[in-house]
Symmetry: C2
Subunit: 208 residues, 2 copies
């Protein structure tokens, strides 16, 4: 299927979807690659080229019907459906993730949460029962969950990842500050604020 | 200066630094591009090529002295010094950022925190006094801070960004789920878990 489309293009689709969804929520009905590009700091030619991989979404001169394009991008990214996601680790970061309101209407729902702290296991947080990490494989398999977020300390992250992979998880969003080793059919995305900050300091000092 | 080096290369340097720092902390003294590549899922040739833009860091056959290479990467990324960073927004996410232990020994220190909630302003959190967003420009200029993290609701993020830019901030790590408009000499990095999850669902369903 879409496996021939370069990953760099796939990586921009959620950005387009986010911006278009905001336009839609603001009551806007039509946009252009120029307007979208200006908002995103991406050239309009790039946007048109990216979208052309997936079909014909706009007409020269009339632009894009936002609602239609949002629907198409949700279909392409497979987020018309709501994906259940497992969260492992309920420290400060896990709490922030649980309270984050942005998942549900964008295709995701936290369905299971885990921690290794005996004081937390069995308690209910924000409507979720916290399960022991020891039950991770069993519960994730039973619920056929394929996405997980790892918010445990770096020292525990690879072991947790190995268990997630064994249980059938295919996509991991890793907040622990280290690279994870996974089989080829599992994808990992990383969130590490320091990595992002260090990318900027390189330039900040060059320019001042 | 380094402005001719492609950004994609710069984006990998913090990843190399993170992995090498972990090796160093574990007591390891020497590594190879092969070992580093295996750990990171990047080819050894790519690592050697990336590093060659900045000098000669290893010898054929003997590999890299980790401590030396860590020092060089910190120098290149300008994180030998400790950068003061402003944090705007102290909700759940801001709390998680404040409690995050990973900044300090990697080149960053939260120096100022802001919120717009009158109930929070003037209180002390984790040793930091929370200042009113209204004082953002004044305090950031006085302390000559050039880096900021934005952890406010989407609706407030652009206005906060405009104030940060006016105050002289050159790098913004944005946690709000929208693209920010900034002048050319200001860089923005984005952290949005949904964008990362949507990048994976595209593939997860293609492969199953």
């Amino acid at each position: 299927m879409g496996s021939e489309i370069p990953d760099i293009i796939i990586s921009r689709l959620p950005i387009y979807l986010r911006a278009l969804s905001r336009m839609l929520a603001a009551g806007q009905t039509v946009t252009s690659s120029q307007e979208l590009g200006k908002r995103l700091g991406i050239s309009s030619a790039q946007i048109r080229k990216d979208l052309s991989h997936f079909g014909e979404f706009g007409k020269q001169g009339t632009g894009y019907q936002i609602k239609y394009l949002v629907g198409q991008l949700r279909r392409i990214l497979k987020v018309e459906q709501e994906w259940p996601v497992a969260l492992v680790g309920v420290g400060d970061l896990g709490h922030a993730i649980l309270h984050y309101g942005g998942f549900q209407d964008r295709g995701f729902r936290i369905a299971l949460i885990f921690d290794s702290d005996p004081a937390k296991i069995g308690t209910v947080l924000n409507g979720y029962e916290i399960y022991a990490v020891a039950r991770l494989g069993e519960l994730i398999q039973t619920q056929a969950i394929v996405l997980a977020m790892v918010a445990v300390p770096a020292e525990a992250a690879q072991a947790v990842t190995d268990e997630l992979v064994s249980a059938g998880v295919k996509g991991i969003l890793n907040y622990a500050p280290l690279n994870l080793t996974v089989p080829d059919d599992v994808r990992v995305q990383y969130i590490d604020p320091v990595v992002h900050l260090q990318r900027m300091t390189y330039y900040v000092t060059s320019e001042t």
